[in-house]
Symmetry: C2
Subunit: 444 residues, 2 copies
């Protein structure tokens, strides 16, 4: 129906997959099922065809209609095949995956990947290769699965200075925290349940230690501010040490506990970039992001606040994003246009030192209940100018004389550095028995 | 920093505005403020410059730094200027705006518009011009202001068969219904308040009669299913006749009332497409979309369910979307590539007749309370096979013998055609005093 269709034959764009597991199968099936839609929506400029796939075990039966000659065990055969225009990296990790992506970029090919760890850890090298060889990297699937947040930040908000991005971007952690909050499970039981349901890997380290979410937040900041970010500058805490005690306090105070990734541009140009379990008001829309869903709130200086919510992982949602990237790149390839992949455009993204960042806080002390303990703590906070907005210690109604062990303070906004210095003095008190537990209260 | 930057001078892309009111000013300011960001993010391929603007009154002072020679009162001067590559239509309406857009398309130029009425009512003619002249129409700002829902449906979900889209896409109606629900205002008072706050036009007809939302829903369906849709096939009801009585019943039954636009692809390929005030569970995430915010839930066969939420109108959010379209088009123009604007790709979008669409229903009868009235109504429903899931009539606790006038039935899912036929029989009963009030209960 289009002029292009009438005048020219659609350009054949060759796709090579490296890795043909769950997501690879999803990409194959999605392209097959919706081929006519994809062609029509692309004005019939091109046709995308998976023509090569590297796998570890070539004898494994993957998919009924995939011909045997599609498969190879050598990724070089995929990358070097002259008919392969787009290399889709789906093996994960930061070593072999790096070699594959680097080799493709050096050949001027387009790379599509969902590998957040690779781009967050070794983005500097890869984007430099992309720049020097005129090749492109697309990575919609790297952040929040089926939610098109990369395209939103890169293209739809191209006219915006991005003021903040706040996200729940690790489904495994979110599921575990939800079960602790809603069902009162202890952390190990909630983790076990997530593993039984297939929501957590057998090795869940990167999910629960916060780094999976942190990698994604780094990529969002790279897109928004234009230069690569050293992961060492980023503050990351996981959910492994979140206890039911603090979850219950949060609940009674009107908060939920979520693993929150925060990207915040300050007036001085510095970027606050951190991932940690945080208190958010139960009334806030992010509090109702449950299960393995993801959500990212984006605030641009023109667009105002927007929220993107959807499936953060899974075969089909991830495949949906990979296919969107393939089609985006195919447009460029078919029309021999300069690519639209991300390239760094700034040298000066400075990450604000975590000690200079400010929020209100929840602090819980494990204390010995003797006269003067609250006065002593309050005195230290007062001397240091750390304001108290509330205190909380549970009372057993049937035993009002029972000694308390948990003393909770809600503290007014101050820098994290100031808080730490003050808490060190509190910790030195005889009646304070261990390091205090600290959560940020997010002003969102 | 990019290869393009090193090797070539950025292409100057000329922008012409027709209309320089609120949104036009926002576009000017946004491009000016974030020019460096836009260039960097576009790999310095091009520079976008507003070089001509048609206005009604040339003497009106608009913006400090806009030179006098920018302005003309003749839109032909904008469209015909050879240096204008992109014509941005911002005057609204479907007559002069049509002439402007048609003239630009015939010259092979790219059009950016936020004019939902124009594209929904006269899209067939305009997309045909676009097709025949190799020109492009971009319209991110036409649906849901600053929310990038057009790009999401067109590009990010390119690999998806879109199963459904459900949206709150008229902020004025949403504000009015919220105030009726939360503050107990009557419709005229809520409308007046919206007008006082600038949320409703002095002539709010298209907002409150449902057609603004319906136009947007038509555009979403056009994008998702690829062919133009005749507005006459679309079922549209506004909020003008929503009463506090029904809002209160909704609340007591656990529902909110929202002006909901529903696009639903059925297994037979037919598209259900309707806009009407509907009951949705207060627990559903769309129920918490308040004020002038918009939200669209999209369900793709691969992506799964996603929700997009943000500011549906306003100077800056709309400007943000217009600038995104300008930059998108500038990429194409600078690289002399075939455009990526929407073109119809299907001939067979069939709208399901409204009488064949099914949901559960809320039905309220105004009755005379005499023995047998409930039995009579229930008997007619039973005979016609319309199932009752609940009944409700308010009792005054202090006056249990007071006669009721409102009799509410919650009905199981049946077609709208069947419901209407049955309700006609009920209406014929002596004790039923007026046409029943019907709301769909959305199964979302």
């Amino acid at each position: 129906m289009t002029e292009q269709q009438n005048n020219t034959t659609p350009k054949q764009v060759g796709i090579g997959l490296v890795g043909f597991g769950t997501v690879g199968t999803g990409v194959w099936e999605t392209i097959k099922k919706n081929r006519a839609l994809i062609s029509g929506r692309s004005n019939n400029l091109f046709s995308v065809n998976i023509i090569k796939a590297a796998v570890r075990d070539i004898s494994k039966k993957r998919i009924e209609d995939a011909p045997t000659e599609l498969f190879t065990t050598d990724w070089n055969e995929v990358v070097n095949d002259p008919a392969v225009d787009i290399v889709v990296e789906l093996i994960g990790g930061t070593t072999t995956a790096f070699d594959i992506v680097a080799a493709a970029l050096k050949l001027g090919k387009t790379v599509v990947t969902g590998n957040k760890a690779l781009l967050a850890e070794r983005g500097a090298e890869l984007f430099s290769l992309s720049q020097n060889h005129g090749s492109a990297i697309h990575f919609e699937a790297a952040v929040a699965g089926g939610i098109p947040i990369i395209k939103a930040v890169q293209d739809s908000y191209v006219g915006n200075d991005i003021l903040s991005m706040t996200g729940i971007i690790n489904g495994t952690s979110n599921y575990i925290l939800e079960r602790m909050f809603d069902a009162g499970l202890a952390y190990p039981d909630a983790l076990q349940e997530a593993q039984d349901l297939g929501y957590a890997e057998s090795d869940p380290t990167l999910d629960v230690n916060g780094w999976d979410a942190a990698h994604k937040a780094i990529l969002l900041a790279v897109l928004a501010y234009g230069s690569v970010i050293d992961p060492k500058d980023v503050y990351v805490r996981g959910i492994e040490r979140v206890t039911r005690t603090d979850i219950n306090f949060a609940k009674s105070l009107g908060y939920n506990v979520k693993l929150l990734s925060v990207v915040l541009k300050h007036k001085d140009g510095q970027i606050e970039l951190r991932t940690q379990p945080s208190f958010i008001p139960t009334k806030h829309i992010l509090s109702s992001v449950n299960g393995v869903f993801n959500a990212v709130a984006v605030n641009g200086d023109a667009s105002g606040e927007a929220l993107f919510y959807g499936r953060g992982a899974g075969k089909e949602p991830t495949a949906s994003s990979v296919v969107a990237d393939i089609v985006d790149a195919a447009h460029t390839i078919a029309s021999k246009a300069p690519h639209r992949g991300f390239l760094p455009y700034s040298d000066d993204t400075k990450i604000k030192p975590i000690n200079d960042t400010s929020t209100p806080y929840y602090v819980r002390f494990d204390v010995t209940d003797k006269p003067g303990v609250i006065a002593d703590i309050a005195q230290i906070l007062a001397t240091d100018g750390v304001g108290i907005s509330g205190t909380h210690s549970p009372v057993d109604p049937e035993n009002p004389d029972k000694e308390f062990v948990d003393m909770v303070f809600l503290l007014h906004t101050c820098t994290f550095g100031k808080l730490k210095a003050t808490l060190k003095k509190v910790r030195a008190l005889d009646s304070v028995n261990s390091d205090p537990v600290v959560f940020r209260i997010e002003n969102i």
